[in-house]
Symmetry: C2
Subunit: 284 residues, 2 copies
């Protein structure tokens, strides 16, 4: 399947990300439909012109119309959906997703999928501290990364179509990683940082500290405002990788602790110099 | 000593903070002098009009002219300076500082000080990622906190003068804490967060990760760009408190790790809910 203006696109799950996909693609002139759980979500999206049509009923007639289907669901809901309804999908359609973990999603999906369908995993690294279609906007894709995670089962054509989708959505950088590389990267850069922020935030009832906080504490805990349902699922789906990243961090934190305890000033300074040097790779 | 337009103010140590004090006070019309190590620093400050006069030579004639002395030195240098030169100070002068730790500075200083002098500790919670007089500007005080840390040895008059100094420098909030309360607060909000940022930053040679980093990793590591000489000294001077804060964090981080390992989803969600609730105390 090659993306063209005639491609009919279905968004399954109209939350923040699904809604933002819908808005971007409708604005670009594609015919975008949606399936989601709540009728009010469909009404809202129709009212705002995010979609051309939509339904809460999953029927063969509706699902069978689409050439490209984007799944913007919680991972376990995504897998259940496919188990129940993949027979409704149009022959030869291309499927992709927006899930934040890849190994535990991409392989099971490709394993269970009908022979004539193709699934190519993608992770749009965009988001907000809020959720829901009311916050949907293609603005969140600006400056963000879009990662495509093909496997040996994917065709070149599907990989290209998926990258093209990222480009037309307005992502800054389109990258390709294996599901394993993706999960390792996300385990460190995103999941570990959320674990740190949450752990720091629950250390104390910080109400009386608010008056004293400068930027550093605020910076470190911004992501401690967290969607517990989604993140607990994502953590568990990347459990092995995340635990290993947490252990790596604990090891370094423990090293620093030991140096402070032993008053190993030169060791501390060396670690801080390395830290400063490496932070320098990040321009801002 | 009450602060008035006739008060002659000496800044000892013209770095980022000392220079910013000088700029603010000179602009307000005070006569500001400076003692610092390098001649170029004095020349720069004179050239930019940050000070009225200054010297690299610590003489009784020069030091003896001032009513209020602000020490903006590394803690151990501050203590050494007083040991060597406190005899030069004018009778009845008021001394204050800008040091980021308090118990290990305030008590030794008050213990060693001449009977006719008074030292009142203060911590202007302002700074930048850069150091040096070239970056000095009173802009860094805007929106920042100024904490006065009196002990039983301090007079009401000195406490008021010190608070007045914070006000005229342009700090947003002037607060009073005991040295112990200050160090506990700073150990958690500032030192622990720097320890976390440094530990995270040294986990990996992150050069190949730069392309993938979104805001969360950048936010958590902004302060990993760190002045190793100053921070290693501050950490060691607040060692007991910092170690206890580090242990508190490790305990929470370990709890989360165990929950992930045991797939205790409800425990994880509960912790994340608490984290989200507490982050809500911080408006931004």
């Amino acid at each position: 399947m090659t993306l063209s203006k005639d491609t009919k696109i279905l968004i399954v799950g109209l939350g923040l990300i699904g809604g933002s996909y819908a808005e971007a693609l409708t604005t670009l002139g594609y015919e975008v439909g949606a399936v989601t759980r709540r009728r009010e979500t469909i009404d809202y999206a129709l009212d705002r012109g995010l979609i051309a049509h939509g339904t809460t009923e999953v029927t063969p007639e509706y699902i069978g119309r689409f050439d490209l289907i984007v799944f913007a669901l919680y991972p376990h809901v995504f897998l259940e959906w496919l188990r129940s309804y993949q027979d409704y999908i149009k022959r030869g359609a291309l499927l992709t997703d927006v899930t934040g973990v890849k190994e535990s999603v991409v392989y099971p999906v490709q394993e269970m999928l009908r022979e004539d369908l193709e699934f190519i995993g993608a992770h749009p690294m965009a988001g907000r501290e809020t959720s829901g279609v009311e916050y949907a906007t293609r603005e969140i894709f600006k400056g963000a990364n879009y990662i495509v995670t093909p496997t040996s089962r994917n065709t070149k054509e599907a990989i290209e179509s998926c990258k093209e989708l990222g480009r037309i959505l307005g992502f800054k950088r389109i990258m390709e990683l294996s599901p394993k590389e993706h999960d390792e990267m996300i385990g460190f850069l995103s999941q570990l940082t959320h674990c740190i922020a949450v752990s720091l935030m629950v250390c104390k009832d910080s109400r009386e500290l608010v008056a004293y906080t400068g930027d550093s504490f605020r910076d470190l805990t911004r992501i401690a405002n967290i969607n517990d349902e989604m993140w607990s699922e994502l953590f568990l789906l990347n459990k092995k990788e995340l635990l290993s990243q947490m252990d790596l961090f604990s090891e370094k934190f423990g090293e620093l602790r030991r140096m402070i305890e032993e008053e190993d000033r030169s060791g501390m300074r060396e670690m801080m110099k390395l830290s400063t040097e490496r932070r320098g790779y990040f321009k801002e």
